[in-house]
């Protein structure tokens, strides 16, 4: 039951095969027994059970609020949730209880979803590992899977399990781990440079970054306002479409959302890709791309070719400037966005009281980690009057060029771009922390971040297991607001690759399978 998809479990709820309360309780129990993953910062057991009870009443009356009614979900801890702590995994907001719900959270609650808790992340979503938050790193559920253990652990001693666990990627690692370990059926992440797609790839789940402006950012604590998008993490593409349908559309509280109403859609059962043109951007053949992923990428291209689609190599020449350009724009906005954390209105306040200025300084030193402080410093440097033209304005121009690259490619008749999501499979934590956050982010965001620069929709689809038994995903990038086409292609691809289900002891113990496992015929 827990391992089924959102749509399947919704059907089970509808048919009364399971009640919202039972479902909620099972998820809560699994959260407890997978606590070592550190996927959740806050588990809202009490309110979740209350919400489940309400859902149960509605379902009994035959008046459910829709497909999400009674479905357990999780939300990244950088979305505001009324009455529930919202920390951004930072000392600055530890204990902060927001008085309002983010629009996306409100929408989920309005549709009867059951909020299980808030998921772990890098502090203020600044990172690509989910290792740099004050609540500690998130562990990738695949580290504990039969698949990984069989392939990796024999090489070393079994007591090294503690040493061998791999990262989730980030910064929405908690949400990805939560969906991947079956503790919830869908989770919200956020995606500024790849923060939803990257952990989705490492955790073997679907990660959708919608078009900028399609989903409200109101209530999402910002990283880079001009690139942030709420992300959707689910077990399959169809579920992502369901979530998108329930979240997308204009929000009067976010002036950057589209004016038009969004029409939710269902994806065809038998998608047809034969009339499509799939672009393979050569620049994504980036240094450091693992040979495994390269070969998967090219096999994926062949799949499309064999299905009758046109597969063309395309060029996005400015992609290589994306990292440095992102660094300037991101840090500048971070410097600005973080200015509000001064200890006066909310959040941490230092005991240093010599002067207002010293209180500000101490508050910010105590409240933010090195990564956040480093970005604030560089951002303010780029915004100085003498540097503004040289860095910020130039980066904006490069951003335009990067966006134009996509425009040209899509203008030439290409429908969807196919790229890898990450350079390699997830690395062990001990290896990951050898390098600093900045270097890692620069490497890890390389394949995902251009889509944020251009505001385009992109999705990670779990594709296969690596030699080490870890998930690898590929990314599809679509035209602005063409989510339906993007998801249709993603669904077709998902069907072709038959990504294996994670074999997790804890999940199996909690789940006396009502549903049959998906066949683990892997795509290789």
């Amino acid at each position: 039951m827990l391992r089924s998809s959102l749509r399947q479990v919704s059907a089970a709820l509808k048919e009364g095969r399971v009640t919202p309360t039972e479902l909620c309780q099972r998820c809560l129990a699994l959260i407890k027994s997978t606590k070592f993953l550190n996927a959740y910062i806050t588990v809202t057991e009490e309110t979740a059970l209350k919400q489940a009870e309400e859902s149960e009443k509605r379902r009994k009356r035959g008046q459910p609020l829709g497909i999400l009614d009674g479905i357990p979900i999780a939300v990244k801890d950088n979305f505001n949730t009324a009455g529930i702590e919202t920390t951004c995994a930072s000392n600055m907001l530890k204990g902060y209880i927001s008085p309002y719900n983010a629009t996306v959270v409100q929408k989920l609650l309005d549709q009867g979803a059951v909020l299980l808790g808030k998921t772990n992340l890098d502090e203020f979503a600044m990172g690509s590992g989910s290792t740099d938050g004050v609540f500690g790193p998130v562990r990738n559920p695949w580290s504990y899977s039969k698949q990984y253990k069989e392939k990796s652990v024999p090489k070393s001693h079994s007591e090294d399990e503690e040493y061998n666990w791999v990262i989730t990627g980030g910064s929405s690692g908690g949400s990805a781990a939560a969906v991947s370990s079956f503790t919830c059926f869908a989770a919200l992440g956020s995606d500024t440079g790849g923060s939803t797609r990257n952990p989705a790839a490492h955790c073997g789940v679907v990660g959708l970054k919608p078009t900028y402006g399609l989903i409200s950012r109101h209530g999402l604590i910002p990283l880079v306002n001009s690139m942030d998008v709420p992300g959707i993490l689910t077990r399959c593409v169809d579920d992502a479409a369901v979530l998108l349908g329930s979240l997308a559309g204009h929000d009067p509280k976010d002036s950057t959302t589209i004016q038009d109403d969004f029409k939710p859609f269902e994806l065809p059962d038998l998608p047809d890709v034969s009339k499509l043109s799939i672009g393979i951007p050569k620049e994504y053949h980036a240094p450091g791309l693992s040979s495994e992923i390269l070969s998967l990428w090219s096999k994926a291209a062949d799949l499309f070719k064999n299905a009758g689609a046109k597969v063309v190599e395309v060029s996005l020449p400015h992609t290589r400037y994306s990292i440095v350009c992102y660094h300037v724009l991101c840090t500048a906005e971070v410097a600005s966005n973080m200015a509000r954390f001064d200890g006066l209105e909310y959040g941490h306040r230092s005991d240093v009281k010599d002067s207002t200025e010293s209180m500000y300084a101490a508050t910010r030193r105590e409240g933010f980690n090195d990564v956040v402080r480093g970005r604030i410093l560089s951002g303010n440097y780029f915004l100085l009057k003498q540097n503004y033209e040289k860095y910020f304005v130039k980066a904006q121009k490069v951003r335009r060029l990067i966006a134009n690259d996509f425009g040209k490619v899509f203008g030439s008749g290409v429908d969807i771009l196919l790229t890898p999501t990450t350079l390699s499979d997830a690395v062990p934590y001990t290896e990951f922390i050898q390098e600093d956050n900045r270097t890692r982010s620069a490497q890890d965001d390389i394949l995902t971040q251009a889509a944020n620069m251009a505001g385009l929709p992109a999705i990670n689809v779990p594709t296969a297991l690596s030699e080490r038994g870890l998930p690898v995903g590929l990314q599809f990038i679509g035209r602005s607001f063409q989510e339906k086409q993007l998801l249709t292609v993603a669904k077709w691809f998902e069907k072709q690759v038959q990504f294996p289900v994670i074999q997790l002891e804890e999940a199996e113990r909690h789940d006396n399978g009502v549903f049959q496992h998906q066949k683990s015929a892997s795509f290789s």
């Binding site: 008085p99 880079v224 306002n225 001009s226 200015a339 509000r340 100085l384 009057k385």
Partner: protein, 501 residues
């Protein structure tokens, strides 16, 4: 045609009036400098000293009269209990976003049009960063790069040598009008060494108007601001009450010799009335002339006007030169305005702002109202200024004229000389006048028919305006007429009854 500045040249004060040692550059209470409003160059004087040309520019913040704040739904209200009008956005709670208030945009467009500005069909918002307790987000949203209105002008009039009969009209260029957020208020409690913050004002919409340095003395600055105030009040775009902080004026002042580049300027803040504006500017001009004359230099500093001492003093410079680290506000798309030509056909009327639509609905501006009064009633131009100077006075005048046979030219004298001085004595506005336009018209009709004397009319008006002492004079008049045959107590009762009708 834009007349820039008055070209007035001032000599060092020492040439004209003696300075008492230790009392500052000029004696308190004495008019420091006279403005040469004729626009001519003043001679360098007998002493042959090179004259100084003062240059005055203004930065004015006008609080927009609107029900809610610029980017949030909180109410705008003066003197509400502290922190009672604060939305999540105003307190900069994480994750909140600005939503632009349409009314504030319309007010800025109206004001821009009234000041002959070019309205930018596309304007942008920027963040201006600085840390201050009453700025919760750590930045102010403003329009640094592309403001909503640019390149305007304001015509204002002032009289030469304080003579109402010699009025001259001048023009000051308006560089730009930008929309921006107001800050909150910090209250420093020195006794307990703490700062209390009231965010009621935080996020209220402001129009920042920048007036080019086209003025040359306090009187000009004051006249320009007074005219602006009348315009804003006529438009309703701001209540523009200086005492309530709805109109805040900072003056940039410098002096230079003819033919030389402008001098280093100082910025004078803390000016909270038009009268103080004239004083502050004149003081600052004189101070700079004194300073330079004594071989000193002027530094580019911010000074505050101390209304009690009547002088400007250096303000504690917070942390040297601030770098505001401007950047585009990413949460607000460009502000797009339309005109009749560019208006998209299928656009929802509620979603767009049409400049032409606003232009067509602009009320008569004070200058037009004055012209109409002069034309229609044949009154003197300077009288039209006095009429416009008080809210409701033109209407009062027109109502009296409608109800009396007396010629408007004569009516105006009665209103401006007699009524206004009685009201002033009792600190009343014309809207609070105990003498209604109907009563005044009645009185003037009696006068026209020669049924009462002008003295009697004035006395009736005085009593009506609150001066009971005059009643005795009237009783005296009755006694005289009746040759002492009337009962004074009865006369008093009858008069009181009549007058209270």
């Amino acid at each position: 045609m834009v007349a820039r500045g008055c070209g007035g040249v001032w000599r060092r004060l020492r040439q004209r009036c003696a300075v008492r040692p230790g009392s500052g550059p000029f004696p308190r209470g004495e008019r420091a400098v006279a403005c040469n409003a004729r626009g001519g160059m003043m001679s360098a004087g007998k002493s042959g000293l090179t004259p100084w040309i003062p240059v005055v520019g203004l930065e004015i913040h006008a609080q927009i009269s609107s029900n809610s704040k610029l980017f949030s739904g909180s109410q705008v209200q003066f003197a509400a209990p502290p922190n009672s009008l604060v939305s999540f956005f105003d307190a900069s709670l994480p994750g909140t976003l600005p939503v632009l208030n349409r009314r504030c945009v319309e007010a800025a467009v109206m004001t821009g049009l009234a000041l002959n500005c070019h309205i930018n069909k596309k304007s942008l918002f920027d963040r201006k960063h600085y840390f201050y307790a009453d700025l919760p987000a750590g930045y102010q949203i403003t329009q640094q790069r592309v403001p909503i209105a640019v390149n305007g002008s304001l015509s204002y009039s002032l009289c030469i040598d304080n003579k109402m009969s010699q009025m001259v009209t001048k023009t000051v260029r308006i560089k730009q009008i930008q929309l921006e957020q107001d800050s909150g208020k910090s209250l420093h409690d020195d006794a307990r060494s703490q700062t209390l913050v009231d965010l009621n004002r935080a996020g209220v919409g402001l129009m920042e108007l920048v007036m080019e340095p086209d003025m040359c003395c306090g009187e000009e600055a004051a006249a320009a601001v007074r005219e602006l105030q009348l315009i804003l009040q006529t438009l309703g775009s701001s209540q523009a009450v200086m005492a309530e902080g709805q109109l805040r004026v900072d003056a940039n002042v410098s002096v230079h010799h003819p033919g030389e580049p402008y001098g280093v300027r100082t910025e004078v803040k803390n000016i909270n009335s038009i009268r103080f504006l004239a004083k502050a500017v004149d003081y600052e001009i004189q101070r700079q002339i004194e300073e330079l004359g004594n071989g000193g230099t002027i530094s580019n500093e911010t000074r505050a006007f101390d209304s009690k001492l009547g002088c400007t003093v250096p303000m504690r410079d917070k942390e040297g030169k601030q770098d505001y680290r401007f950047m585009p506000e990413p949460n607000l798309p460009p502000l797009i305005l339309y005109d009749a030509k560019s208006l998209p056909a299928n656009m929802n009327h509620q979603q767009v702002i049409n400049i032409d639509w606003i232009r067509e609905r602009l009320p008569d501006l004070p200058s037009v109202k004055r012209e109409k009064l002069v034309e229609q009633y044949g009154i003197l131009p300077e009288h039209s200024f006095t009429l416009l100077n008080e809210d409701g006075l033109p209407e009062f005048f027109e109502n009296v004229v409608k109800q009396t046979q007396m010629k408007p030219k004569k009516v105006i004298g009665w209103i401006l000389n007699d009524l206004l001085s009685y009201l002033k004595q009792h600190s009343l506005t014309v809207k609070e006048s105990p003498v209604s336009s109907f009563l005044l018209a009645d009185l003037l009709n009696l006068l026209e028919k020669k049924e009462i004397s002008s003295t009697a009319a004035k006395q009736v008006m005085a009593i009506k305006a609150g001066n009971q002492k005059v009643l005795n004079k009237l009783i005296g008049l009755v006694q005289k007429k009746t040759q002492g045959r009337s009962n004074p107590v009865l006369v008093k009762q009858l008069l009181e009854k009549k007058l209270s009708e």
